[in-house]
């Protein structure tokens, strides 16, 4: 993987401009707010709290475009951050942990949402997925923030 990151480094995208990197990071954060909000309302609903009087499928479908929109924004800005500071990402344990957990979280979220979108009420066995999802996505956000703080 190192040669790829070194090649990214050679592109010098946003090099020398702290403002470019900061703007990308701030946009990443704003997309996170929309994404995590849309994830939370469904996860809380799975746990029987939050918008609990609405059919589960309604909450899932209504949150969906905001979840995907927020994620798309995070994917673009997140990728740009890696392109702008590839070596920082490559040598960060937090970055790699975040990427691995992301794969797990994305699969979990897609599976849970596709089941939930077809049901008015969460089956008992699906409820814990709400808590796992909240903890998983929060932990990913924690790792993301730590990339910039722990070297």
């Amino acid at each position: 993987m190192l040669p790829f990151f070194q090649w990214l480094e050679s592109l010098k995208f946003g090099a020398g401009s702290e403002y470019t990197v900061a703007s990308i990071n701030v946009t990443h954060l704003l997309c996170l707010v929309v994404f995590i909000g849309a994830v939370l309302v469904v996860d809380l609903r799975l746990l029987g709290t939050g918008m609990r009087r609405q059919p589960l499928s309604d909450v899932v479908r209504s949150a969906q475009p905001w979840m995907f929109g927020g994620f798309a924004g995070m994917f673009v800005t997140g990728s740009l951050q890696v392109v702008a500071t590839p070596m920082k990402a490559y040598f960060s344990d937090q970055f790699w942990l975040k990427m691995q957990l992301l794969v797990v979280a994305i699969i979990l979220t897609l599976v849970v949402r596709s089941i939930a979108a077809r049901r008015a009420e969460a089956p008992v066995w699906l409820k814990p997925a709400g808590l796992v999802s909240i903890l998983l996505w929060s932990f990913i956000a924690v790792q993301g923030r730590l990339i910039g703080l722990l070297q």
Binding site: V26, L29, L32, V33, A38, R52, Q54, S138, R145
Partner: protein, 167 residues
């Protein structure tokens, strides 16, 4: 006056202890940022309902009441961690324009929420189930999104040393 008060906090042994702890800053800041994202996310979801852009089949008052406890919980975590961060480095934040801008935006966001609650929201029974709330409600939702986005933006860039003054 404010400066001397900040200096007084700065000299406290407990403030120095936070400032000098190796992991205090990164982990506190991370807890603050992540709880803030969760809080703002739940606020934005409610604002989207106010704007008539999401959760349209759910009465507005239900979205508001059911998300409220979680908004308060995440805000509490964010406020406590934020207060400890400030307590550890009061003089650092004193000279930061972005920090004060963030405080002002939070104040405006609070005023916006209270103003809406005591004006437009009083007649909620009349438009609770409509997917397009009255203009006053939409305005409150839009303002809330803009103001909280501002809080997130200025909170993040407070970490940089731009627009920072030291005496």
């Amino acid at each position: 006056m404010i400066r001397s008060w900040f200096e007084w906090i700065d000299a406290m042994p407990s403030s120095i202890a936070i400032r000098e702890s190796v992991f205090g800053y990164p982990y506190l800041l991370t807890a603050h940022a992540v709880s803030m994202a969760l809080f703002a996310g739940l606020i934005v979801m409610m604002d989207l309902r106010l704007l008539g852009w999401a959760y349209k089949r759910t009465p507005l008052s239900q979205v508001q009441k059911q998300l409220f406890p979680w908004q308060m919980f995440t805000m509490a975590v964010s406020s406590v961690t934020g207060a400890i961060l400030f307590y550890g480095q009061p003089l650092r934040y004193y000279g930061k324009v972005f920090f004060w801008t963030k405080m002002a935006l939070m104040l405006f966001a609070g005023i916006n929420a209270l103003y809406f609650h005591f004006t437009t929201y009083r007649t909620v029974a009349a438009w609770d189930t409509t997917d397009q709330p009255p203009t006053g409600a939409k305005l409150a939702g839009a303002l809330s999104i803009v103001l909280w986005a501002g809080v997130v933006i200025f909170g993040r860039i407070t970490a940089y040393n731009w627009m920072t003054f030291t005496e």
